[in-house]
Structure formats: C-alpha cells, structure tokens
C-alpha cells in the first residue's frame, strides 16, 4: 500500500498544511510519498524529504505548474494514481479545486475534509456546517481525500527521504493565471496560527477593525480572522473569513471580538482549544461556546486587554 500526498507550497516554502496531511497519511499506514509540483521548487522538495515517515518525494518542475492550476495538476496526478491506494491533499483552495477533478478522471468518489480515520477505507467527515459527523466507507480502488488539517497533528521533521525528479507533463492550456493578489502580512498563516484574533460586525468599520485588532494581534503574535458579516461589510479581506465556507481554524486561543456567533461561523472555530468572546450583547450565541466570555463594550475592552498584555510582558 502506498499513499500519495500532494504538497501545498508557494515554490519557496512548504506550507504547514502539508505536515498535517502527511500525519494523516501515516495514520493510514503504508509507504507515504509526497508529490511536489511547481516551478523552481527544489527547496520545497528538500523540506518535504525531511518529513518523518515520508519514503519518497516526487518532484515535477515546469513553468506550467507555477500557477498551480487544477487542470494541469490533475493531469499530472492521474497517470501516477495506479501506483497508489490513497491520494491525499490538504483542504486548501488548491486541494479543494483539484482533488474532485482527479477523482472524476479516475471514476472514483472523492472524500472531502476528513477529520478522522477509522481504517484504510473508512473515514469521518463533518457535514451541515460541522453539526453532523458522518462515518463513510469507500469501495473505490483508490481513495481521493482532502484532509481538514486542524484535525491532525503536524508530522515532525527528522526524516531523510529520497527525491526523484519525474516528468512534469505538458501544459493542458485550458486556463491561464492573469494575476494573483495575495494579502501581505507578517502575521502567522490563519489556518496554522496558534492564536487567532477574529473580528465581527460589532467593530463597525474597517478602520476600527485594524485600529483595535492589529495591536492586540501584535501582542499575542496572532493571525487575524473575521466573521462573514465583517468580510461582507468590507472590514476585512475575503481570505480572513473563518467559517463553514471560509477557513477552518483550531488554534490554542481564539479571541472573538464583536462576533455574534452564527452557526456558520462556529463551524470554522469551535474546535479551538480556548475560546474568548468579547461582546456587549450578553445573549450573543458566541458565549455558548466560549470558555471565557466578557460582556463589555469592545471599544473599551480591546484596548484595555492590549494594554494589559503589553504591561504584562
């Protein structure tokens, strides 16, 4: 039994989500191989080779893998599939776009965002915004799976796998990346951060969002997140959205500021270890999942918390 993990990376660095996905693959048992598809990405292959438990790294480099478009990535993976019982990728935008495509081309089901592994063919995944957990068994010869990375620990990095260059295939020419505008941030990645400070509609404006939350996030070394309402209102960019249809996070500490706590938002953060809610409405549903709730005006409480943290350290 061999398992192929598709690495998530930006050509320079391996993303943390790959480490969790490799851990899930190791839980399945069998030889774990990592596919690094990209352009000028030998550093990523080297980082993948250091993941404990990985037997082999497959490196496919070509200009047409630079944009990491689903059409080309699927075309690369499908011919490799006969050698594997499982194909795994983290449930990132690349993974979610590509794995259904791979599955359809292989005429097999795809299993989305697993949070548990019962055996090599039986998996647990959330449905209905995380309110229902379903255990499913697949009868397909190859299981094509996206992994909810917050449900698995990260693999450690004491390995030394071999790296094999493989043919990168040709450009399918179906789609073209025109431009990419990524939010520039010195903060940790939202999906992998240990602390997340998240803002909701209670903040009232983009200006307030940043004026209040940036210093708090700086003090905590936190990533910034937002509720859908805050993103829709333009307080924060789309990639900050935490929830059923946004990012799923499970940090050590989640601080929800002015977030009411719609079920769609809870779906994205209720597996956090400690949840703090600051909201002036004592009836806000967020308090039902919060370990520590502070009923207060966030415009007073947040600067006070930031200041207290500053003088504490």
């Amino acid at each position: 039994m061999a398992i192929l993990v598709i690495a998530e990376h930006d050509h320079a660095t391996l993303k943390a989500s790959t480490l969790n996905t490799v851990a899930a693959a190791l839980e399945l048992g069998g030889d774990v191989h990592v596919l690094v598809a990209g352009h000028d990405c030998t550093a990523v292959a080297a980082a993948s080779a250091r993941l404990s438990g990985v037997k082999k790294v497959l490196l496919a480099q070509a200009p047409h893998h630079e944009a990491q478009l689903a059409e080309n990535l699927a075309a690369l993976v499908v011919p490799l599939a006969p050698g594997y019982t499982h194909i795994l990728a983290p449930a990132t935008s690349v993974g979610k776009s590509t794995l259904p495509r791979i599955a359809a081309l292989l005429d097999v089901a795809q299993i989305s965002e697993i949070v548990g592994i019962e055996s090599s063919d039986t998996f647990v995944r959330p449905t209905y915004a995380g309110n229902v957990l379903v255990t499913i068994r697949s009868i397909d010869p190859v299981k094509v799976i996206t992994v909810r990375t917050t449900a698995f620990d990260a693999a450690d990095t004491s390995g030394a796998a071999e790296i094999h260059e493989i043919p990168a295939g040709s450009d399918a020419g179906l789609s073209k990346l025109i431009k990419r505008e990524l939010s520039k941030s010195e903060r940790p990645e939202l999906g992998a951060a240990k602390v997340v400070v998240s803002g909701g509609r209670g903040l009232g404006s983009s200006e307030n969002y940043h004026r209040l939350l940036d210093p708090l996030a700086d003090q905590l070394g936190a990533a910034l997140g937002a509720s859908r309402a805050a993103v829709d209102a333009g307080y924060a960019p789309n990639d900050y959205q935490v929830g059923q249809t946004g990012k799923i996070v499970a940090p050590q500490l989640y601080v929800a500021v002015g977030v009411s706590g719609a079920i769609q938002h809870l779906a994205g953060m209720k597996d956090s270890k400690i949840i703090v809610a600051i909201n002036k409405d004592p009836e806000a549903p967020i308090f039902q999942v919060a370990d520590y709730g502070l009923v207060a005006d966030l415009f007073d409480a947040v600067p006070a918390l930031t200041e207290a943290l500053r003088s504490n350290t």
């Binding site: 689903a70 935008s93 259904p100 081309l105 229902v132 249809t245 209720k270 502070l294 207290a308």
Partner: protein, 249 residues
C-alpha cells in the same frame, strides 16, 4: 450562449439539523427546504449575463427526487428560462450528480456552467470540479467576479491567501463564492410566471448514467458539544484566567 445552472434542494441554511436518535441519518421530517444558497448566487449570475446580452438562455438543472421540482421553480422565479429535472431516487452522490449533469450539458450543448462552490448540507464541494473534468473543460472555482468577452471568461477567485484572476476559454465551468453577487428576491409575479415555464423530467436511464453510490454511510452522529465556560467580570480577570488557568498566554 446557453448557460446551465445546477441547483440542489437542501435544508434551509437557517435551520440547525438534528441527528435521528438511532443514528441512521439527519432528521429531515417537516424541515424547511430551500435552494442551496451558492446555487442561488449561480442562478443570479447566469440571469445577469442574460440580461447583459451575453447569454441567450439559462437552463436550471437539478438531480434528485421529484421534490426537487420546487427548487427548480425557485430558480425559474429568479429568472431561469426553463428547467430539467434528472430524476433519481434518494440523494445521489457527487460523482453521480456530475455524470448526470454531463449528460444534460451534452444534450443541451451548453457552453457555460455556473454552479455553487458547495452545498450546505454535505459540504462536499465536488460537483463543479468533477463535471469540468468529465467534460474536459477548464474550471474557475470560488468566483467573486466574472467577466465574459471574446469567447473567454476572466474570473476573480477567492483563494487562501487573497484573490487571483484566471482566464478560461469557453466552454468552461465556474463555481460561485459568497461575494459574487447578491441574489434578487423572487417577486410574486415572477413566482407565478415560473409555474408556467417549461420543466422537463428525465431519468438516469434516459441519460444512460449509472448512479450507484461509491460511498456507504456507516454512522451519523453529532459531534461532542462544547460547553459554555464562565463569564469574567473584566479584562484583568480575563487575563488572569488565560494566564493561570488556561495557560495559553
């Protein structure tokens, strides 16, 4: 240009579902059902393209039992021109849905498919990409902006680190994200008009599609509920708890 829009009948997003006590599934008796919100956005986008003179016809398609006709009527009330129900028993799995849709796309010679990025019941997010693969078409998932010109679609996509723009040659498939548009409300006259619009019913046999499931559900359960913690009186107390009790800072 003909646009095909798949729509799914799902539990209304405002409802918190319950698992049946015997663990056999989700209790859907007397639960309000709606058109999947992302599919509603897809219908809206297609109708806007027609209103802009880019598309000639918008066809809504649903795969499922006969109750999906209600969902198709909702799409027609939003402005789709006609509807096709690929009638199958029960709840077909994403791969089967993609195969049914492919057969309908082929039959209709549609050159653009716009579908929701995920259904809010199974949260799988697969059908669009699977359909694009089966058709051999390019795809642009998680769209927040669509512009069609010269036989191509320029699509802004919401991705992990921000946004990106891709260009795909038609025929192509697009999946909608939340912020692509704000669907209109169906007006009463349009709801009445929708009742008279054509709705064709075909079966999986008619379409020559094998819809047998690949995944078997073994168990359905509710996750462990998180318990509400305590209320703290002020910032100082909060800080103390975080430091000395939770030990997270």
């Amino acid at each position: 240009m003909k646009i095909l829009v798949p729509v799914k009948r799902v539990v209304d997003p405002g409802i918190k579902v319950r698992v049946r006590s015997d663990g056999s599934g989700v209790d859907l008796d007397n639960v309000k059902m709606s058109i999947n919100p992302f599919d509603e956005i897809a219908v809206e986008e297609a109708v806007r393209l027609k209103e802009a003179g880019v598309a000639s016809e918008v066809v809504a398609v649903s795969c499922g039992d006969r109750l999906c006709q209600e969902t198709l009527r909702a799409a027609l009330a939003l402005g789709a021109d006609r509807a096709v129900l690929a009638e199958v028993d029960g709840d077909p799995q994403p791969l089967a849905v993609a195969k049914l849709l492919k057969a309908v796309v082929d039959k209709e010679s549609a050159s653009l498919v716009i579908c929701g990025k995920q259904a809010i019941d199974d949260d799988a997010g697969q059908v669009g990409q699977m359909l694009a693969a089966l058709l051999g078409w390019p795809q642009a998932t998680f769209a927040s902006k669509v512009a069609i010109a010269d036989g191509s679609a320029r699509v802004t996509r919401e991705v992990d680190g921000g946004v990106e723009t891709v260009e795909i040659r038609l025929p192509a498939l697009i999946t909608t994200d939340l912020r692509l548009n704000e669907p209109r409300y169906a007006t009463l006259p349009n709801i009445m008009k929708a009742k008279k619009k054509p709705l064709e019913v075909v079966t999986s046999d008619d379409l020559g599609v094998d819809v047998s499931p690949r995944l078997t559900v073994l168990k359905v359960a509710e996750p462990a509920q998180r318990k509400a913690g305590i209320r703290v009186a002020d910032v100082a107390q909060l800080l103390d708890r975080l430091k000395n009790e939770a030990k997270v800072i």
